[in-house]
Amino acid sequence: MWRDILSGALIVVGLLIISLSVYGMLMMPDIYTSIHAASKAAILGLMPFLLAAMLTGNPAMITRALLIAVFLILTTPISAHIIGQAAYLTHEPMETEGAINESGQELSAASAAAKAGD
């Protein structure tokens, strides 16, 4: 009985965090801000689901859920880094209000238009 209640609570928490992540991706204006919502919040929202799967007590399920959790924690920062690096190196413009660009690279909308015009 307590397992059902606990796994239900974990699933509700996970759904809430994943919904926040999708909402963030819908609302964020450019790639550099939506990476935050897509990588960190989505992984954080997936972890309660895997914890709820571990609560079932089935050893086959526990090992597989643990494997998925470890693999996702290891690989999601790498893929987010690759996406951010590709956006930065191809001069993806920053569109957030008051964004400060401290890198040496031009990342404004004007420079992207100039690059497209070349």
């Binding site: 939506s34 998925i68 690759i82 191809t90």
Partner: protein
């Protein structure tokens, strides 16, 4: 009772999948599209975990693991291809 809970969670996850598919279709930049596809895979992993708990079968989690692995490889290859014109 738990089956009803899992079904409600699956309905909510299906709505989130729909929103993410719309995001993949309507994104302005290519990298936002790739990022949305990554989130789509994560939500699919959550759907498969829900199925595994509802049916009490562990083999759904094998599919979830392979999906996560293929998504990682795909994002790496697509990102590097977009950056430099070749995947590796």
């Amino acid at each position: 009772m738990p089956v009803l809970m899992f079904n409600l969670a699956l309905i909510w996850l299906a709505l989130l999948l729909l929103a993410t598919i719309l995001l993949v279709i309507r994104a302005r930049a290519t990298m936002v599209r790739l990022l949305a596809a990554d989130v789509l895979t994560l939500i699919l992993v959550a759907v498969l975990v829900m199925f595994a708990q509802r049916e009490g079968a562990a083999y759904y989690l094998d599919a979830a693991l392979i999906l996560a692995l293929l998504s990682f490889i795909g994002v790496i290859a697509a990102g590097r291809y977009y950056r430099s014109g070749r995947p590796f």
